[in-house]
Symmetry: C2
Subunit: 283 residues, 2 copies
């Protein structure tokens, strides 16, 4: 049997940088066609010294999940478009990365410094439904979206107000917050409004308005619930300039050349941004 | 047909707080048994005004994935133990939460203030393999673990050094960093060592030692790569007390009563912790 014949009996895999192989199946396949190929491939990969196999089955190839599990694969994660199975075949402990474990929430403290008013909303559904509590605009950062961008987007979607990012004031972690086992990290961000006329979103927002900050802070909810009191108090401190300093953003690149935002102490971020001022304003 | 008979023809669902129903199937079922029950249940739920259905299929029930998709379900996410399908049957836009989108990485700046040395390692595998770069201990926060706890754990696992959490100094976001589409948020944490004798982990760590901080910072890698230079520079600034202030942690509770860590400006965190000093030291 020559190489070409042999390859037609194997699943096509692409090596990754960690001693693994990635198989991406997108075309429908019968179990009878799949199982012998998978078995032959496992022997081949094992002989090659492969440590782990990623088997990505596109939506529609769900018939292959059970047969793959019967050959030692386990489910690693899934999205709407695919299910990812893995099999670790090396004798050393698995170094496959874990599934995604977190989502990122954002809350926006949009402060009108002239009037000392803060942008607040009441939501139609959700945790605060029927409580009468005026809350900061909040939302969830989308896959691939930066934290500061998520905050800007949520504010504009919910209230029509355009803003600029100022600082991350604080963040908190909450476990088993969604999908039963996953953690939500919530970033409280200060934003500076550049428009002031509210056009509320009708599908999620019951009401939106500018509210004097003391009135916002002094709501019974924000005083009784410690975490809310702490956050409201931080917002209040921001009214007195320099009484509270958070983290600002600096655009940089990772070692592999991807754009990446670093969030650090604002004094330091200003220094970093200033020393690269010409470069960043021309970009 | 009485209620009991009718129920035996339906899948058992539990209402959630958002107008949805959760179905948790753990026992094997044939497609012939499953499909008529699912269809009857969908009619029943629709008549009840149900907005969305969560269908959790335990590992081993993979035969039901394709038939459920044929009835309008899509894959929402999966873990090793189950696949979660959803179907949104209301006329309004879906409000189902998205899949987890992030993981949390930690890097530990463990500073011996007396000797002005920092704890560094060389890893056997990974990004820095063969570069000779001495790096801070790093790792990934486990599901359900707090950021500060993940940092302490990774340092002790890799080097045997016990530490106390001091501050989050900075964080950065990196998109498409793992599982192709997911984002890694990396928190640079300062830790204070309480032990000093290194016992390195053999499986992942090639070498570990205490290194003069200037030597760490001045490594060519840390000078050439901007993000690393920024972070190394922040570490250096921490040597001069009060030249750089990050976020400390405050233990509090969410509005639903769960323990939750708030990370905020250290001056403010100290104030919050001090005013609750008696309560927290007696706990």
């Amino acid at each position: 049997m020559d190489n070409e014949d042999q390859e037609s009996l194997l699943l096509q895999g692409v090596p990754d940088n960690y001693g693994g192989v990635k198989v991406n199946l997108t075309e429908p396949m019968t179990i009878e066609d799949f199982v012998p190929k998978l078995r032959a491939s496992l022997v081949y990969w094992s002989n090659q010294g492969t440590k782990g196999i990623w088997l990505k089955l596109a939506d529609g190839l769900d018939n292959l999940i059970a047969p793959a599990k019967a050959e030692g694969f386990v489910c690693h994660h899934a999205e709407r478009e695919y299910t990812m199975l893995t099999s670790w075949i090396a004798d050393v402990p698995s170094t496959l990365p874990a599934n995604a474990s977190h989502r990122i929430g954002v809350g926006a403290f949009v402060l009108n410094k002239k009037t000392k008013e803060v942008l607040v909303v009441q939501e139609i559904d959700g945790h605060f439904k029927g409580t009468g509590v005026w809350k900061l605009p909040t939302g969830v950062v989308k896959e691939g979206e930066n934290i500061w961008e998520g905050a800007l987007r949520e504010v504009e979607e919910e209230t029509g107000i355009k803003t600029k990012f100022v600082e991350v004031l604080a963040f908190r972690e909450s476990h088993q917050a969604f999908l039963e086992i996953k953690t939500d990290i919530f970033f409280l961000c200060e934003l500076e409004p550049t428009t002031f006329e509210i056009k509320k979103q009708d599908s999620e927002i019951l009401a939106a308005k500018w509210m004097p900050i003391e009135e916002y802070v002094n709501q019974p909810w924000n005083q009784k619930k410690e975490l809310f009191r702490f956050m409201a108090n931080i917002c209040l401190k921001r009214l007195q300039e320099m009484e509270y300093m958070g983290f600002s953003k600096v655009l940089t690149t990772t070692s592999s050349g991807k754009e990446s935002y670093l969030y650090c102490n604002t004094d330091h971020a200003n220094l970093l941004n200033a020393t690269r001022g010409l470069a960043s304003t021309s970009g």
